[in-house]
Symmetry: C2
Subunit: 264 residues, 2 copies
Amino acid sequence: MTKMCEYLDGSAKNGAVSAGSRCLVVVGGVQGLRALCADSWDFSTYELVICGDSGQDVARTLGINPDVYIGDFDSSPRPAGQTEFADGRTRSPETLAAVPITTPSDAVPGDGVEVIVLPVAKEVTDSEAAVDLAYSRGYRHIDVIGGLGGRLDHTLGNLGILAKYAHTPARLRWIDGYNMVSLVGPGTHTVPRNDYHYFGLIPFDGDVQGLTLAGTRYLVEDFTLVRGSTRGVSNEITAQCATVSFTSGRLLMASSRDLQISGQ
Amino acid sequence: MTKMCEYLDGSAKNGAVSAGSRCLVVVGGVQGLRALCADSWDFSTYELVICGDSGQDVARTLGINPDVYIGDFDSSPRPAGQTEFADGRTRSPETLAAVPITTPSDAVPGDGVEVIVLPVAKEVTDSEAAVDLAYSRGYRHIDVIGGLGGRLDHTLGNLGILAKYAHTPARLRWIDGYNMVSLVGPGTHTVPRNDYHYFGLIPFDGDVQGLTLAGTRYLVEDFTLVRGSTRGVSNEITAQCATVSFTSGRLLMASSRDLQISGQ
C-alpha cells in the first residue's frame, strides 16, 4: 500500500495559488456527457486541469487540455509526459519500463505535462488521488467532472470524498450531465440558477435543522429536513440565486435534470 | 397530497401469494440496459411484473409483458387498460377524460392489464409506489430494475427505499447493467456468483462490526468496516457463493461491473 500523501508535493512546485484560483479534475465514466458538452461551461476559467486515469477520454471530448495526468492507468493508456512514480521507486529506468507508455494518437501532451503514475494497490481511488493533488497544490475551488454514475460503490465513494473535504476550506463540487453536487454544513449558502432544472436538498448523515429557503419554487422556514425523506428533492431555483441556510446537520445540494439514459 | 396507502389494495385482489413468489418492478432510466439484455435473466420466474411510469419503455426493450402499470404518467404515455385513479376520484368519467390515454403503437396491453394512475403531487415517487404495491400484494421477493443512475436525488431516494424495507420480511434488490444492490442487517447472508465482476460492501449508516467473509478474493474475520471507508469495495466472489456475516450495522451489498458510460 502507498501512503496517501506520497504523491502530494504541496503548492510550492507550481508556485503560489491565489485564493480565487480554480482547479478542474476530470475523471472517467461521465454520464450525460453530450449534454455537458452543450452547456455553457467556460473551461478557460480553470488555472489547473488534472485528469484522473480514463478521464483523459472525457477531457478530449470536452476539448480540454490537461496539465497533469494521474492514475494507476489500469483503465486507460498512460500518456507521454514528465513521468513520476508515486510509489518510492520514482525515476528508476527499470520501473519506468515496466509500465508501457501509450500516447493516444489524437492527444499530444505538450511540454510541461506531468504524468503521475500511482500503484494499482493503494488506499485511495484515482479520483480521490486527483482531488487530493489539487488540494495539496493549494486550490480551494475544485470542480470534478464525472464519478456520479455507473458503479454504485464508486458513486458513494465519491460522495464520501465530499464529506472528507467538508471540514476543510475547499469548495468541492462533482458535476456530470445529470447533476452538480456539493456538500455543505450549517450556515448560509447561495446557489446561482444554472443549466439544471431541479434543485434537490438531501440530508447527508442526519437530520438538517433550521432550514430556510429563498429564491426557490417551494419555500420552507426553520424547517427540519429528516434524513431519508424525499421532501427536499425536485425543488427549483426560480430567482437568480437560491439561498439555503440551516443551523445543524450536513446537506447535499444537487442541481439535477432528467435526461434519457441510453442503454449501453 | 395522496396518502401513501390509497393505491394499496392488499393481496386479496390477486389471490394469495405463496412464500417464494417473486415480483419484478421495472422503472425508468436504466443505465447499462444493453448489458442487462445480454445477461442470463429469466424473467418468466416472476409471477407479477409492475411497471413504474417510463419503465414501460425498459420492459419493452427487455421483452417483458407487465401485469400492472403504475405512475403519474408525467414522463411517459399512459397505457390503455383497466384504469383506476388513486386519488379518490376513481372511475369518474370526467377524471378519466382529463388524463389522455396513449397506447404506444408497439405495445398492446392484453385483457386484465391494470393501469393505476397516481396524482403528480404525492408523497412518494412512482418507484416507491410500485414497490409498495408489490409488497402490499404479498410479495416478499421483489427485484427492481432501474433507478440507480441519472439524477442523484432519485438514486439516493431509491437506496432509502431499501432502508425502508430493511425492517420488513421483504427481500428487495435494485438492479441495472452496472449494479445489483441489496441492504442487509446483522446475520449471515449468501450471495451467489453472478454476471457482475466486483462485489462491494458499503456501510449504509454507521460502522459494520464483526464482519467475516468467505468465498471472496479478499477475506476478513471479525472486522470493523468503518462508514466512509472504501476498504470493502472492489472485492470479488471467487466461490459459488460468498458468505457475508456481521454482528451490527447495516450493509449495502453491491455486485458491480465496469461498463463504458456513453455520452448521451
